[in-house]
């Protein structure tokens, strides 16, 4: 199936949010049976490794020359494989990020029973990502992206904040200093893994997720072992028992998380980490019906109906939607077809083109043109000032043609 690339990105990010929202509901139910958040988290990780491995195997089955995974979930998936040498560093960092994030979440639950009071602040991770991208990525966030990120972040906080309960400074410190940095590590390095080439082809989200959950499980087990050693508890063993005792519920969570992450990783491969995270903040909207259902069946306390709270929530949701729409409607893409003068080295010219900010693909081609480059910019003015002027300064370029993309479809 071929759909428009813009829609593909939002389809993936929203699908990931919807699945994550449903899973959070099951999480809340399971929390009633497994009280220790540390045991709950580790048992989900253990099951995550098992489920991810099982589904990666199933998705590897070949059907008419293509794996089931490539036909249904990720077109770049060729089959389950061992971790590659060039992936190890990034997998260790993103796995550590996942483990830090999870442990931070456990610590938060230990301090405060109702994480909804402080968890909305974890959406500030979007701003962390904008700052990191400004420092590290060649595609620096534009003013529109920074504005939209701030709108989505504050919208997410307003949309999910609870007016009941007290704010704990300790809990806030965990969100800002542990959970958010964990998310940053996870997002940035999963994105780096997704855009990495493996044997000349695009890396697939299924193997990335499989190895990430394995590394994160190892890190978390290690932390729990240290916790057991320091506190004299037996949580590591309890986690294994809980995995078997609540097999069905935990398997359902691990299954959902597996697919939620695959869609998230694929979205990361298309958009920047900050933009993907901003769209994924829509989980706050999708979790509202889940909360209503849980409340209706008595799994959680009745929903608070203070008119002030409802007004604040509505304002937050409107802000979020505006921010996401602003991301969606302000992206301009173009192809630039380039002919070069003879007597200049192709590789050197390719590198000069690649160094221009906003250029996200450079292809040396055989045909009428020598290079076809793909541009992504938020405004045409920036496209001219930042890109075309720079192209004109490259001595090897003979002539070029800028052709704006009006509409685009991509194979999913």
């Amino acid at each position: 199936m071929r759909i428009r690339k813009k829609y593909l990105f939002y389809f993936l990010a929203f699908s990931s949010s919807i699945i994550a929202a449903l899973i959070s509901g099951i999480d809340a139910i399971l929390n009633l049976y497994i009280e220790s958040p540390l045991v709950l988290g580790l048992s989900i990780f253990i099951m995550g490794v098992f489920i991810s491995f099982l589904f990666s195997l199933i998705l590897s089955i070949n059907y008419k020359g293509k794996s089931i995974g490539a036909r249904t979930v990720d077109p770049t998936f060729k089959g389950i494989r061992l971790i590659k040498k060039q992936e190890i560093k990034y997998q260790l960092l993103s796995g550590a990020g996942n483990a830090i994030l999870t442990i931070g979440y456990f610590a938060l639950l230990a301090i405060i029973r109702d994480p909804s009071i402080v968890l909305p602040f974890s959406q500030v991770v979007i701003l962390y990502l904008v700052i990191i991208e400004s420092l590290s990525e060649k595609d620096t966030p534009t003013l529109v992206e920074i504005q939209s990120s701030i709108i989505v972040t504050f919208g997410a906080i307003l949309g999910s904040i609870s007016l009941s309960g007290d704010l704990s400074l300790e809990a806030l410190a965990i969100v800002f200093l542990v959970i958010n940095p964990g998310w940053v590590l996870l997002s940035i390095y999963q994105r780096k893994l997704k855009i990495m080439k493996i044997n000349g082809s695009s890396n697939d989200a299924i193997n990335i997720r499989l190895w990430n959950v394995i590394v994160a499980c190892l890190f978390t087990s290690f932390f729990v072992m240290i916790y057991d050693f320091l506190q004299g508890t037996n949580l590591l063993i309890e986690s294994f028992f809980a995995t078997f005792e609540y097999f069905g519920w935990i398997a359902l969570i691990a299954f959902g998380v597996f697919f939620s992450f695959i869609f998230y990783i694929r979205a990361l491969g298309i958009g920047k980490a900050s933009v993907t995270q901003a769209v994924k903040a829509s989980i706050i909207i999708f979790s509202i019906p889940v909360s209503i259902i849980l409340s209706y069946f008595g799994f959680i306390d009745p929903i608070f109906t203070d008119p002030v709270l409802i007004l604040i929530k509505l304002m937050g949701i409107v802000l979020m939607l505006l921010g996401i729409l602003s991301f969606a409607l302000t992206l301009t893409k173009a192809y630039v077809f380039i002919k070069m003068k003879s007597g200049y080295p192709i590789e050197e010219t390719m590198k000069q083109l690649w160094d221009i900010k906003g250029v996200n693909r450079v292809c040396a081609v055989a045909g009428d043109y020598d290079f076809i480059i793909k541009i992504r910019t938020r405004t045409l003015v920036k496209g001219y000032e930042r890109i075309l002027r720079k192209i004109e300064t490259i001595e090897a370029i003979k002539e070029y043609k800028w052709q704006s993309v009006l509409k685009e479809w991509e194979d999913i």
């Binding site: 173009a334 052709q403 479809w409």
Partner: protein, 79 residues
């Protein structure tokens, strides 16, 4: 794997119908409608040059397609 861009000229007024037909062809990874000298840019991923020829043929047989120019990618840097 061989990757290529196929630049397509389409007869005025035939773009929508031609795109519909192109979306049915296998091995096409991306279709972009562009403003300028060309009307459509197609990104193709095939296993052999023989397959590339078959895809190009299928595109040329679409009603409204006037001309195609194929550019095989020799080297690529991508974000």
């Amino acid at each position: 794997m061989i990757n290529a861009y196929i630049l397509v000229h389409v007869r005025t007024g035939s773009t929508d119908r031609a795109i519909e037909e192109m979306r049915k062809i296998e091995n096409i990874r991306k279709i972009s409608i562009i403003a300028g000298d060309f009307d459509v840019v197609i990104r193709v991923e095939v296993k052999s040059l023989d397959k590339l020829l078959k895809v190009t043929n299928k595109i040329q047989l679409i009603k409204g397609v006037l001309k195609t120019t194929t550019h095989v990618i020799e080297k690529e840097i991508v974000l």
